[in-house]
Symmetry: C2
Subunit: 208 residues, 2 copies
């Protein structure tokens, strides 16, 4: 037992007679930024284009003057999650932590884009359940496996087919497609720009 | 082995001929918000007033039109860190994760206020070393132990003295004061408002 649980204690306000600070509400943060915070969760197979769409979406939001942020392997794997490996329970914890970080960013009023394979429905649903209705926007990048495999930018599918990579999503490990994603976008049919525009159109009613 | 390490792969840009998205830089995010992202790390004993100052600072920044966010026990302990207990290694991991989340928020351009006892110098220094110079602003809330103990808002010091709480920082566990904090503020001398003003004065040269 120790005092860590008491980190959040605050000196009673009565001690600060002339100071009337209050906890800033999410609404106040959002009002300042002129937008509603959302967690845009892009899920899909390796090679589906979700990271490309995520980068382009972030750029588009920034160009539109929106406070946005991108969570992806580049800034998560070697930072917050660098203690995690690739065992199933580690991957679950990885998705959980990204979801929790996403919750914080949404609470800060930021349009937060997350791009992770996140193959398990239960892991994604758990994030949704932890947030207020509408905060979690599941964007299923539904590009068919054969297209993803055809793109195979780094030859991972070839290696997976050859048995050189175990538990590769879509080949030797399951991908559980969303059942009720807010948006479903297939980058074998849509251009990246069209996919981004569809997401922006979904968001625009939020903005002032 | 699995494909999680490939989450960050992006479909080659060459596939997106008319789309010239780029990774949004930190500078572009900061330009949009008109400020520099910083992690304001408030460290000090239980009862030192760090959480009170943190809440008031966040409120002041918001009132000044600054995009800010507060990381404290309230939104971290029962979310991102709800898998961690109070053993020394868990407390270290707790501080590490908050530091990593702070890094992400700073990268997003946000003025991020963190208030945690964080008693170990090495844990705080590790966060500083992971960030660019100037990004990590250590604010030592240096209120003397006897004052903190005198406040004892929830009777924790009484319990610690009675041996009912083990490893209580300042009583039965060490607190390693910062050696070169950017700011040192003693709330037995300064009012909360004065402490907040000192931090704001430190930050204001950043703003446009």
């Amino acid at each position: 037992m120790s005092d860590a649980r008491h980190d959040s204690e605050r000196t009673p306000r009565a001690e600060n007679i002339r100071w009337h600070a209050h906890d800033v509400t999410r609404g106040e943060r959002e009002q300042l930024l002129g937008q509603r915070g959302r967690l845009l969760w892009l899920t899909g197979l390796s090679g589906s284009g979700k990271s490309t769409v995520a980068v382009a979406l972030d750029a588009k939001l920034n160009a539109l003057g929106r406070a946005s942020y991108l969570l992806d392997g580049d800034n998560i794997r070697y930072g917050l999650c660098d203690d995690l490996g690739f065992a199933p329970e580690d991957r679950q914890e990885h998705v959980r932590r990204v979801g929790e970080v996403g919750r914080l960013f949404v609470d800060a009023g930021v349009l937060t884009v997350a791009a992770f394979i996140s193959p398990y429905r239960a892991d994604r649903d758990r994030i949704r359940e932890r947030m207020k209705p509408g905060d979690f926007v599941e964007v299923y990048i539904s590009t068919p496996l054969e297209v993803c495999e055809g793109r195979d930018p780094k030859g991972l599918y070839v290696k997976a087919r050859a048995g050189q990579i175990g538990e590769f999503t879509g080949i030797s490990a399951p991908y559980e497609a969303p059942i009720s994603a807010e948006l479903t976008l297939d980058t074998s049919v849509l251009s990246v720009e069209e996919a981004v525009d569809a997401i922006v159109a979904f968001l625009q009613p939020d903005w002032v």
